[in-house]
């Protein structure tokens, strides 16, 4: 023992005696294994020394142990320099031991699996792990971008808003690219993620978030009571801070109590433990988002297993025991490698048996920090000094043999290899230098209130802990223990237990919850210290926001905390301000003379910790992005080499190429000619089909369609048009009456789903008095259109000879059930989309492929040809039938030439609004036909119609080509178009103007019906 001496302590504290202990300096730490792990303790910690794991950092080979994180392994290997900051590229080390880490971010893995910005503090070590430092060039040690530090006097908060404006054209060319290159952190792989992700649902009565003392107590209480419990822990093992502290619960050492608690939890079948699972958000209705890192702790996921799994946990109640995050102190040099959170120092020593430094100094403003000094000594390290800005030794620490200095740390000396010494300044301004290779700091604790605030509940400031505690929590959620602002072990156990009991009771569980465990009730005292004047003192480490940046923002009027955040980028880094926010707004409060409560916090936003985009997408990528729908004849068509097109979720046969055809146009032309001159068929099963049944079915349809269906005879079909209530066209299709009380309604492929919803709305909400029932039968029926002059002959072969298919026996728009050869019933509809003699035939979907085969058989002698949607489209354009491009949601029935269908005698959806002045204006764009003047010219959809001789401009743009095809029958390209006053202009020559494709040609406005205008063929 050297002699004691007395010194003045800052503040009002009376002079007090304290010891320093040179003996401690002399004493060696517990022997450290030779080799790379220079800072590894020989005993203790929850690592498996029998399982050494090799890894590399920037290519340097090192060894750690199972149970290590990358960070703890780096600490054990004496690595201080781990990263570079965002703006100034300052050298940075490991600051924390958790998800809040702002500095120690690395690129983990390589190639397509490279993960930028991975926190070394949460990355579990595995054999062969390879990590690279990021945001530096050419190397971490020698980073040329560190030159930014020299310009830091200019690169202050918001500097770029004030410059780079002259000359204007240099912004995109020079300034911005330079800024973009310098910004950003890690590099993404740029390759498709080779790993698989998935999503899943879980349900429980009680979700417990966090498995520290409070979480364990809550889970045990609710579990014993019999509730369905999910215990989610982001770490790879249960325990939370219990893994990093010393102490006792129920008279047992923490580790022993923890083991017992784990045994009991494992024995309770109603508790589901989810480790490596971080709850990142709370959403409406008690749905919680959580990310399970299923296989991040190994190099590559095993076959058939995902890398990560996104959970949606539906919970009646949630007990959030997410703990608290220790707050840095803001003083000059606080970002040097080797400056570390006091609690992190304890974690590395107690949990990982890794010594962050041999001579550790501690800078604190609260009692809790002192535990670190205790831990360092216990591990045989040297405590160079404890600098407590309060200048008093806490009750519990009186016995400790420590050198206390009142005052503050005003300077940290050192370089890329970390702290060498610190300068302590007392209240009188006297300074002294202290040798140390690690500075532990504790500015107090911030309860982890994030989950309580995601529904915009505002946290409440508490002076006693100098921190924000949870305010109004989302429905069903409570926050307990440190997360609730009560830091003592006893309080955590007590509150956790009580919340568990309460949540279980609320979910109807009746069992006994047992008694709460007992822990020591260590007090927590703090006297805030927000800022130490001097050099660069960092508030947001990753984004290089300093105390003076905050003051500058205030001077410029950015006083709202949201303005502060946005102007300085404070709190916008990957740690989302977990370490910086409270310090930042405390400094703002200081600068504005407001108190912290009035200054308020920024809005907390999910996710609590960043989530891989791949996990949020899960299975839904590549061909699994959306489900696909196949037609009944899909595999048959595929076997014939059909080309398919995506229409909504459907895959439809677009055309059927045959050998020797040079392009799609040749195939489609062949298909059209085959139909027009012979017979062909097309799978039209994708049309929406609805059974409308019941005594009031006819009345129902009258109110739905602009035309009348109650008068439709049984055995007849009719084309119908529906409007939206705003009077514009909604959908069209043929509807047949199969019986007095049974209509078979069809919709377009695109509207099948929405139309069903619309019909149900009319049935259930608008007209509940009608006795009508609706069922979608879209998937029930394989429906084929058979068209062409030989259609009837084909059907004669297919149908039972008894069936009369003559014009009299089966007139146009007739419908009936028929018997087919080979014993099959089918519905036959004599309707035509192509304008040819045509029928549609429907059989149950499972006979769709057989129908295709049988149609080929029945039509063989006529050269029957299967055709796809392209040929279907060509034929409908030749006939001037409107479809998707004309049913654009902005056209009226009259625009489409169907105005005369609008019944005057009845009310129907859209009737009233269809009469509005602008919807009946004479200069509306209406459907016309378009022919090129030079028949060799190709027309293109999207070309605009400009009057001949007029200069293209907003006032001369009179419409556009909606549907275009090459007409095999006319031998040139034709189009449908929407053209101003089009019906009055048949015969007029106008321009089809298409600057996008550099085309501009003269075309003639015609009737939209190009082929068989009298309609003789389909009636024949």
């Amino acid at each position: 023992m050297s002699g004691t001496r007395t010194g003045r302590i800052s503040g009002d504290a009376a002079p007090l005696a304290f010891n320093d202990n040179p003996a401690a300096d002399a004493r060696q730490p517990r022997s450290v294994p030779a080799g790379t792990q220079s800072h590894r303790l020989s005993s203790g910690g929850q690592i498996d020394r029998k399982q050494p794991l090799g890894f590399t950092f920037d290519g340097k080979k090192m060894v750690g142990f199972a149970g290590d994180t990358l960070a703890s392994a780096l600490v054990a290997n004496g690595v201080k320099l781990v990263g570079r900051s965002f703006k100034y590229h300052r050298p940075r080390g490991i600051l924390t031991a958790g998800a809040e880490e702002p500095n120690a971010l690395v690129e983990l893995r390589s190639g397509a699996r490279r993960e930028p910005n991975t926190r070394a503090t949460t990355a579990e070590l595995y054999d062969g792990l390879a990590a690279q430092s990021q945001n530096r060039w050419p190397s971490l040690r020698h980073d040329v971008m560190a030159v930014n530090s020299l310009f830091s006097p200019i690169f202050v908060a918001g500097f770029y808003y004030k410059t780079f404006m002259w000359p204007a054209k240099l912004w995109e060319k020079l300034y911005e690219p330079a800024i973009r290159r310098a910004a950003g952190l890690g590099k993404a792989s740029g390759e498709a993620d080779p790993d698989h992700y998935e999503k899943a649902w879980a349900h429980c009565d009680v979700l417990v978030v966090g498995s520290g003392p409070a979480g364990l107590a809550a889970a045990l209480a609710a579990g014993r009571a019999g509730a369905r419990v999910i215990l989610a822990e982001e770490d790879n093992r249960l325990g939370g801070r219990l893994l990093s502290e010393n102490g006792e619960i129920d008279g047992k050492p923490l580790a022993e109590w923890l083991a017992g608690a784990q045994r009991e939890i494992a024995a309770l079948a109603n508790i589901r433990v989810m480790t490596r699972t971080a709850v990142f958000g709370v959403y409406d209705g008690g749905t919680y988002g959580a990310l399970e890192r299923v296989n991040d702790h190994i190099a590559v996921p095993p076959a058939h297993q995902p890398r990560q799994r996104l959970w949606r946990i539906v919970a009646r109640r949630a007990v959030v025991a997410a703990g608290a995050i220790e707050r840095p102190l803001v003083f000059p040099g606080n970002d040097r490698p080797g400056v570390m959170m006091a609690s992190a120092v304890r974690s590395y020593i107690n949990r990982f048996a890794a010594m962050p430094g041999r001579r550790v100094a501690l800078f604190t403003n609260n009692d809790d920090g002192w535990r670190t000094a205790e831990a360092v000594q216990r591990a045989g390290g040297t405590v160079a000094a404890v600098i407590d800005s309060r200048g008093v030794v806490p009750e519990g620490c009186r016995g400790l043999n420590l050198r206390l200095l009142g005052g503050v740390v005003s300077e940290v000396n050192g370089g890329v290899d970390g702290v060498r010494s610190i300068v302590v300044r007392d209240a009188g301004g006297r300074t002294q230098q202290i040798e140390a290779d690690c500075l532990a700091m504790s500015g107090g604790w911030n309860p982890n209130v994030a989950l309580s605030s995601f529904h915009r509940g505002r946290p409440v400031w508490r002076d006693d802990i100098a921190a924000f505690a949870p305010g109004q929590c989302p429905p069903g959620m409570v926050m307990v223990g440190a997360a609730g602002g009560d830091f003592s072990l006893a309080a955590c156990l007590r509150e956790g237990h009580a919340a568990g009991v309460d949540a279980a009771k609320d979910s109807g569980a009746k069992g006994k919850a047992g008694a709460a465990a007992q822990g020591e009730d260590e007090g927590f005292a703090i006297k805030p210290l927000w800022h130490v004047e001097g050099g660069k003192a960092f508030v947001d480490f990753q984004h290089d926001v300093t105390a003076s940046d905050v003051k500058l923002a205030q001077r410029e009027g950015f006083e709202s905390v949201e303005h502060l955040k946005r102007y300085t980028t404070l709190g916008m880094a990957t740690d989302q301000g977990k370490l910086s926010n409270v310090n930042g707004l405390a400094l703002m409060a200081e600068a504005t003379g407001r108190n912290i409560a009035d200054t308020g916090t920024t809005i907390y936003r999910p996710p609590y910790a960043p989530v891989a985009i791949g996990a949020l997408a899960g299975h839904h990528r590549d061909e699994n992005f959306h489900a696909w729908r196949l037609t009944p004849s899909h595999h048959w068509a595929a076997a014939r080499g059909a080309m398919f097109v995506d229409t909504g979720l459907w895959k439809r046969a677009q055309w059927y190429p045959i050998a020797g055809e040079k392009d799609w146009l040749e195939s489609v032309t062949r298909e059209v000619l085959a139909v027009r001159n012979g017979v062909g068929f097309c799978d039209v099963s994708t049309l929406g089909k609805v059974d409308v049944r019941g005594p009031d079915a006819g009345t129902f349809l009258d109110r739905l369609y602009i035309n009348t269906f109650s008068s439709l005879a049984v055995g007849k079909a009719r084309y119908g048009l529906m409007l939206r209530e705003d009077g514009l066209v909604y959908d069209d299709g043929t509807t047949s009456r199969l019986a007095e009380d049974h209509y078979f309604l069809t919709t377009t492929t695109a509207k099948a789903g929405p139309a069903m919803q619309h019909l149900e709305y009319c049935r259930q909400v608008l007209w509940p008095e009608l006795d009508v029932q609706l069922t979608s039968v879209t998937d029930q029926w394989a429906q084929f259109s058979i068209a062409g002059p030989n259609t009837r002959d084909l059907l004669k072969n297919l149908c039972d000879p008894a069936e009369d298919l003559s014009n009299e026996g089966f007139p146009f728009m007739g419908v009936r059930e028929v018997s087919l050869r080979g014993g099959m019933r089918a519905r036959l509809y004599r309707i035509s989309f192509s304008g040819e003699m045509a029928f549609e035939i429907g059989v149950p979907a499972r006979y769709g492929e057989a129908m295709a085969e049988n149609l080929m058989r029945a039509g063989a002698e006529f050269g029957v040809t299967p055709y796809g949607t392209e040929a279907l489209g060509v034929m409908r354009i030749e006939k001037g039938h409107v479809a998707g491009p004309e049913l654009s949601g902005t056209t009226t029935a009259d625009d489409l030439g169907l105005g005369k269908m609008m019944s005057k005698k009845k009310d129907y959806i859209g009737r009233a609004m269809a009469g509005r002045e602008a919807l009946v204006a004479p200069d509306r764009q209406v459907v016309v036909g378009i022919k090129p003047v030079n028949k060799a010219n190709r027309l293109r959809s999207g070309a605009h119609v400009i009057p001949r001789g007029a200069a293209p401009g907003p006032d001369t743009d009179q419409g556009y080509l909606t549907s275009v095809c090459y007409s095999p029958m006319l031998g040139h390209w034709i189009a449908l178009a929407l053209v101003e006053r089009g019906r009055e202009r048949h015969g007029e020559i106008v321009r089809a103007y298409d600057p996008l494709r550099g085309e501009d040609m003269e075309v003639e406005i015609t009737s939209p019906v190009f082929y068989d205008p009298e309609g003789g063929r389909q009636r024949g």
Partner: protein, 104 residues
């Protein structure tokens, strides 16, 4: 968000689609006596376009299309998303509606 369908029980948002405020009632283009409503366009303009856009509790139309295909009336707070009540449209199912045309 989760909606307690009166027929299916509580289900997640993805099974439902939203229409909007349940308050507007569809007028008729015809008066009770069968004559055309002279001011039909004004009545329908109000019905189709104007909204109270309530900040607070609002009765809304939701469709359980991913489930039992019933139309529901959901009383929901538009500032907190808290759901206060869920009822079925009068014509859901096959019961005879209390009064014809009722669309509460």
């Amino acid at each position: 968000m989760r909606i307690a369908c009166p027929f299916c029980g509580e289900r997640e948002l993805g099974e439902f689609t939203y229409l909007g405020d349940a308050a507007p009632k569809r007028p008729s283009a015809f008066a009770a006596d069968g004559a055309e409503q002279p001011d039909a366009q004004d009545l329908f303009f109000d019905y189709v376009y104007l909204r109270d856009n309530i900040a607070g509790d609002m009765d809304e139309r939701w469709y359980h299309g991913g489930g039992c295909r019933s139309w529901l009336t959901v009383t929901r707070n538009t500032t907190t998303h808290e759901i206060k009540a869920v009822g079925a449209a009068p014509g859901a199912g096959a019961q005879k509606p209390a009064k014809a045309g009722a669309t509460s």
